[in-house]
């Protein structure tokens, strides 16, 4: 689904990422850990193509296509979506109007808004006066309407209270086609094999992992992915024990 090769990214002339390699297959959900300022958001921004993240070297492939020089809009059209950590306020643009333009199945908007308790927000300007939790639910609603094949989530649980984390988790699962219920192992396997949607999630606390099953964890440190491979929950425990710098202990 997504392949990042030797990616170097600078922000305002300052190198942030220095050779990131990442491969996410269809159906997989990866989790990105790393200390503040390590460049996690930079990696997401570079994958979606935001202007301020300047790619100095390396390639990004999506569904086999080199997207390194495509615009944000072209990447979105190919099926990449992103949930913002701190999205801007759009004055005079109501959430409902925005969803009308971005969604293909308009009739589902109300239903989805209801599931995220956002019905009364459709009339309001996007993100204007939204609380931390409301911002995150609105991001999830926008993504569910957009329905991308590959989703980037930047701290989906930050600023969200405990009750609403479950709600956010549920909608991430819906987005990643992980919301089907299975009683036995065979069904679970079948579900997994049929799944195509993939995602990359940044989390500091790991709370979201209580709700969203993820396949692989990575630690971004010194501009590179230093530890890759463990189950994200185990990796989180290990980081708590050894710290980000020495996460390699966990892989041994």
């Amino acid at each position: 689904m997504l392949r990042v090769e030797d990616l170097h990214v600078a922000v305002g002339g300052k190198p942030i990422l220095q050779g990131v390699n990442l491969h996410i297959k269809p159906g997989e959900t990866h989790v990105l850990f790393g200390p503040n300022g390590s460049g996690k958001s930079t990696l997401l921004g570079a994958i979606i193509g935001f202007e301020r993240y300047h790619i100095t070297n390396g390639k990004i492939y999506f569904k086999g296509e080199d997207i390194t020089s495509l615009s944000v809009h072209e990447r979105a059209k190919l099926g990449i979506g992103i949930g913002f950590q701190r999205p801007p306020v759009l004055r005079g643009v109501s959430l409902g109007d925005l969803l009308k333009v971005t969604g293909s199945e308009e009739n589902k908007v109300d239903e989805l808004a209801e599931s995220l308790h956002l019905q009364s927000f459709l009339e309001r300007d996007v993100n204007d006066g939204f609380s931390g939790g409301e911002v995150k639910r609105s991001e999830m609603l926008q993504l569910l309407v957009q329905n991308p094949d590959f989703v980037l989530l930047d701290e989906p649980e930050s600023g969200v209270d405990l009750e609403n984390i479950a709600l956010i988790g549920q909608s991430i699962n819906q987005l990643l086609e992980k919301d089907g219920y299975c009683g036995d192992e065979r069904c679970r396997r079948k579900l997994k094999e049929g799944r195509n949607k993939a995602g990359l999630i940044i989390t500091h606390t790991g709370y979201i992992l209580d709700y969203v099953p993820a396949d692989l964890g990575h630690v971004l440190f010194d501009g590179k992915l230093s530890c890759t491979g463990l189950n994200p929950r185990e990796m989180l425990g290990c980081i708590q024990k050894y710290g980000y710098a020495d996460c390699t202990h966990c892989l041994a």
Partner: protein, 405 residues
Amino acid sequence: MQDELRQKAQKALDKSASFGEEIDFNSFNAKEKVHLYLDNLVDLPDEEKKDMLIAGVDVSEKERTGTFIQEDNSVIHASALQDGLEVLNIGEALEKYDWLHDYYWNAVQIDADKYTAKVGLEGESGYFVRALPGVKAVYPVQACMFIGQEGLLQSVHNIIIAEEGSELHLITGCTTGRHVESGMHIGVSEIYVKKNAKLSFTMVHSWAEEVAVRPRTVTVVDDGGVFLSNYVCMRPARTVQMYPTTYLKGQGSVARYHSVLVGHPNTDLDVGSRVVLQGEGSRAEIIARSLTRGGRIVNRGHLVGEQEGVKGHLECRGLMLSPEGVIYAVPELEARVDGVELSHEAAVGKIDQEEIEYLMARGLSEDEATAMIVRGFLNVKVMGLPEELEAEVQKAIALSDESTL
């Protein structure tokens, strides 16, 4: 009385206005044709019907409670469609009602500047629109000021009275015929909102590139009265200068000004809104949105608090969509007693790249994203315009929206 007014006007003929380029009346000396009165609006030429529609005036009179049309300096139509509403030519109204002389050159001073003086000295035409006490108009009365002749000076004097407890909506569309490039429009409007009455006054300017415009409007609001003023100027005009003022005389009276200005290259807009809060508990809000594609826009706002406990807020935002052009925001707050609450916020800049990328990440192209943000910025929805007029305004935005980023 008339002589006294004429004398005052005569003396003020050289008096410059406080703002705006000095206009030489001699550049607009086309000899005017007299246009005949039309009983039936269907008889208007199709071309003119279309031109008027752009400024929000629909001659089919669908969802309208009255129509007034002035072509050049002739009143060609004036009629009311709802009982309790009056739509007359101002001259006729002054003959009909003696008391109207108390309202005539009362809110606006005839010697305010050379433009008011000019209107005072010209043979005047213009509308008199009135809602009788307690009458609530469902739909707006529409008025059109139409310049059909090249190089003409159009002079207009309007009086609007919303009597006690009434509700009146007025849309004034000002426009030129499609072949007209140059002209001048001076419009004096005196507006009276009586006790507990509500008036919404929407003005759409849709002029041509060499037109000079000098409206002079003053509103007086009584106890419990509400005055909502909307102003939209989207199309090029060489120079527009106006500073409509409202005196909130009455207890608990309210005024809200909302203006949307688009500056095109070679367009100079100097537009302000002023509210003087005099009545106990009176409140005012001024909202302005300016966007330039190369023209110069001066956006003024002035709140004057003359009574303890009054509240006013002024919000002025400007968006530069071109490296050319100027947006000059001048918000002013003036407290004349203590205990007034006046505030303002002003911001001028270009579209935030982050907002554009946010929308692009949702699948919009850069142009679509820009258009959406500009539409949101101008947000004509909050003006509460009638649906089709809002659609016209939206269309005007879309037309002037070839992204010049």
